[in-house]
Structures are given as C-alpha cells and as structure tokens.
Amino acid sequence: MARGIGRAMQKAVAREGLDVDLDASGRSLANARRRQVFRYLCLRPCARIGDVGRDLLMSQATVRWHAWDLVENRYLQAEGTRVFPLGLIEPADAALFAAIASKGRAAVLAAAFESPGISLLEIAKRVALTRQSVSKIATELSEFGLVRLADDGRYRRLYPTDLLVRKREANRSRAAAFSEALLRRMAEEGLSPELMRKDETTLSIRFGDGHRRVLLEIPLDPYATAWMRSA
C-alpha cells in the first residue's frame, strides 16, 4: 500500500477552504481570488494578464486589480508591464520569463527538452503551429540562450541548453529566502501563517483569522514550472 495517507487527508481537509474568503478584509491574501492570482504568478512569473485571466476564469480587469493590490502589498514586484513574485526570481530574468510564459514558446521549449535534436518540422506537427511560427519561436528562444539551433543539411534541429537547469539550481537559495519572507509578510498582515510543508518545489502554508483557515500551496520552482504544462 502506498504511503502518504496522512498528508493526503491533510490536503483534503484543507481543500474545503481553498476557495473561501477569510473574514479579514483589508488583508491582501485573505481574498481567495487574489491568492489564485498570486499562486499562478509563482507558477508562471511574468505571465500575461490575458493568459492568467483565461486560465483562472477571471476578467482581465479582475486579474489586473488583484495584481495591483499584490504589488501594493509587497507580494509581487512590477517591472514595466511584467509582474512576478517579489524575491522568487532573479529580476533580470523577467524578460526570459515573459518569453516562456507564452503557450507557443513554452510548447516549443518543452518539445526540445522532451526530444533533444527534434526537427522544427516535427515540432510544428507536435504543437500544432506552422513551420514559420516554430522557426520564429526557435530563433527567439535561442537568443535567450535557452536552445541551440543546428542544421544537419536536411533539417533544422533544436537542442536544449543547460541554461534553465543552471538557473533552476542557482535559484534554490533564493526560493528558500522567498519562503521565509512570505511567512513574515503574512504574519505582518495578521494572517497567523502556519508552515505545513516546505521542500524545494512547494511551500504549504495554512493561515487564517481564527474562525476560518485555508491552505495555500505555493510552487517554488519557477524555472521549471513556467514552461512545463500539464495539459
């Protein structure tokens, strides 16, 4: 029998509270939809507001409103039109995250990681894009140093570089500091955060206002999750 029944029950008990607002008006993360926006941007920093809204079934205006509040309350950082969790990524990588946040680029990058040396023609078939679009995206990704293009005389092929792997490793200490800072920030807001679990990829915090407590699971591995899609 598989292990982990306790953790599974803990999650199931807390799931009930995932989508509820806490009776703590004025505190940023007390709002259930704002927590969704924050969590999404931890998963995919610098994602476009339109994509966030589409994935979370919210209007762009709602996403923008919550993102603005999170910036005001020092949970997110804004760089021009890009927003990302404060302290979770290297700010200089904002452009890189903005690039791989798009579904098309993420799909091409994923194809290169899944099948190193895959031809652009094969990628086009796999991700349902035109050959021209794939070619354009491959060039953009190679400009960021994320992939390498090679011509074998017959096909143009795509190979992943180790840039993301290196950045991911280098980001571990930053993610740990982010976790600490987030817990402190929530405590300042009077949300009584309780650390349920912390490992290299996920932070689970249970918090609330005394009457009601909710569980927030924060992905801490943006250099992997930004472009990996489950669907």
């Binding site: 292990r3 029944i5 306790g6 953790r7 599974a8 803990q10 199931a12 008990v13 249970r206 407590r213």
Partner: protein, 288 residues
C-alpha cells in the same frame, strides 16, 4: 477479525487480544480522564508496527499534544512526524464536518485498504457542527462507516452530563461505534481513582468489569487487574456438552448446539451454570 495491539498496557486482554482492525472505537471521559493519552498510545503503537498515523486534533493545537507526548517520554513521535509517518491535522469541527460531507468519499476511494491508525480528538466539535440530531447521527454514522475502510479509528468524546454516560452528545457516537471505552476519574475524594470500563465491543469478547488504571510517566495508561495472565478455562462449555449427550434432543439441534460451544470459555458464560442452561435448552426444544 484481525486484532491489533492497542498500545495501552493491560487493555488488550480486556478486549480479547486487542482492538479489531478496521473498527471504530470511542473513548469517553471527562476532562483529565486520560483520553488524549490513550489516543496517543494507540497511534504510537501503530507507528511502531509500521502503520501510518493520522491525528486529527479538533480542539487542542498540535504543539500542545506533541509537547505532552514528549513530556510523557515519547519523543520518538518527533521522528515519525519528520518522516511524515505521523501527520497532525488541525481543523475546526466545521471544517472537518465539511471534509466528511464533501471530500471523504473521494479520499476513501483513493486510500481504501490502507492500514493507518486514525485518531479524532475530540469528536465533540464535529457533533456540535450541527444542532439537528438526525444530521449528527447521519454525519457520524457516515464517517465511521467510511473511515474504517482506510484504517482503524479511535475517537475521543468529552463527557459533560451530570451522570455517567448520560449526556446527549455521547449517545449517538456510543450507539454507532464498534467499541466504547469509558474512562472515569474521581478527583474529589481524598484518594483519587481512575477506572476503565469497556461498555461494548462488537465482534469481540470483552471484560464486563471496571478496571482501575494509572497514568505512568513513560508508559502512559496502565490498566490494572486484567486477567491476561490467568489461564483460559473451558469447564462450563465442556460440562454442558456432556450434559447435552445425556438428554434426548433432535439430531440437528444437538449438532448445532455442539458447534455453538466451539471456542467458548468460562468467561463467556459469566457465572451461568451448565445445568441452568441445559434446563432452558430443554424447555425450548423438548416436545416441539
């Protein structure tokens, strides 16, 4: 039915060897009676046998329970916590009730057949999550039925009524649980005393008496006066079997009675005499 060790010294013999696996036990007692100590012993014993433990704490926070366990000398539970073999769930009664209603079916489907030990301490806030008695019965009955599919469950229950076990909130869980253990603590006398009594235990023989117990640092609850060391005697069933041979009874009745006596011991007859039982059997079957 498979027996699992309760972890409480002296309790297993009173339950014919231990707690039935995949059963629900309710431990009832007033504040300070030793309910949480018993629950901790139960869950710790499972951990020692490699079973996972879930401690649902609906009242005290987990730090308090862990601190008390460590003070008792059971600091090994910290390692079980680190390894996630033991998981504490802090929740309000309402949260846990909502879990029962909305999430439990899917959870049980995922984990059916698990051998975890699950403690709910105390069950009282779940009962109080609704005022309607029918809903309470429905909620508790459903929870017992489902959770025993994923492990062996022990719930504690606060006793509030003026007389023993008379409080309305004890009636429903007592009725629905497979096994009920009552802990009594008499602190008013100059000589404080503690008593443990098994009120019922489905599918199991159990001691009918109230047994004194102590809470000992390092050991937890130690029940005295269990007859675990006493040899099992079968005098009454043997005599009854012989007496049945001397009387005229239909063949199928005799065979059926003979079979019924298999495995019974003197303790099962609770002082009934073989001659007395024989007389009643004859009244029932002779001339029928």
């Amino acid at each position: 039915m498979r027996k699992i060790r309760s972890g409480v010294y002296g309790l297993n013999p009173l339950l014919d060897g231990g707690v039935n696996e995949n059963s629900t036990t309710v431990v009832i007692g007033r504040s300070g009676a030793g309910k949480t100590t018993l629950a901790t012993q139960f869950i710790r014993r499972g951990l020692q046998d490699g079973q996972e433990g879930i401690f649902v704490s609906l009242d005290e926070n987990k730090e308090q329970i862990i601190r008390e366990a460590v003070e008792m000398g059971w600091s090994d539970i910290l390692e079980y916590l680190d390894d996630e073999l033991l998981v504490f769930i802090d929740a309000s009664g309402r949260e846990f009730s909502n879990f029962i209603r909305k999430e439990l079916p899917a959870f049980v489907a995922d984990w059916k057949g698990s051998t975890a030990r699950i403690v709910i301490d105390p069950l009282t806030p779940v009962l109080w999550s609704t005022k309607d008695l029918y809903e309470q019965r429905d909620l508790i009955g459903y929870m017992f039925k489902q959770t025993r599919k994923v492990g062996t469950v022990l719930c504690t229950l606060e006793e509030h009524g003026p007389a023993d076990l008379a409080g309305s909130e004890t009636v429903i869980p007592m009725y629905l649980a497979d096994c009920v253990v009552h802990l009594r603590f008499n602190s008013n006398d100059s000589d404080p005393s503690r008593l443990l009594k098994i009120v019922k235990c489905r599918n199991s023989r159990h001691s009918p008496s109230a047994h004194p117990f102590q809470i000992v640092r390092g050991l937890g609850i130690v029940v005295q006066g269990s007859d675990g060391g006493r040899p099992v005697t079968v005098k009454t069933p043997t005599q009854l079997r012989q007496l049945l041979l001397t009387r005229s009874l239909p063949k199928n009745v005799r065979e059926s009675l003979d079979k019924s006596l298999d495995g019974l011991t003197d303790a099962d007859f609770r002082g009934l005499k073989p001659e007395e039982i024989l007389e009643l059997i004859l009244q029932e079957y002779q001339g029928a």
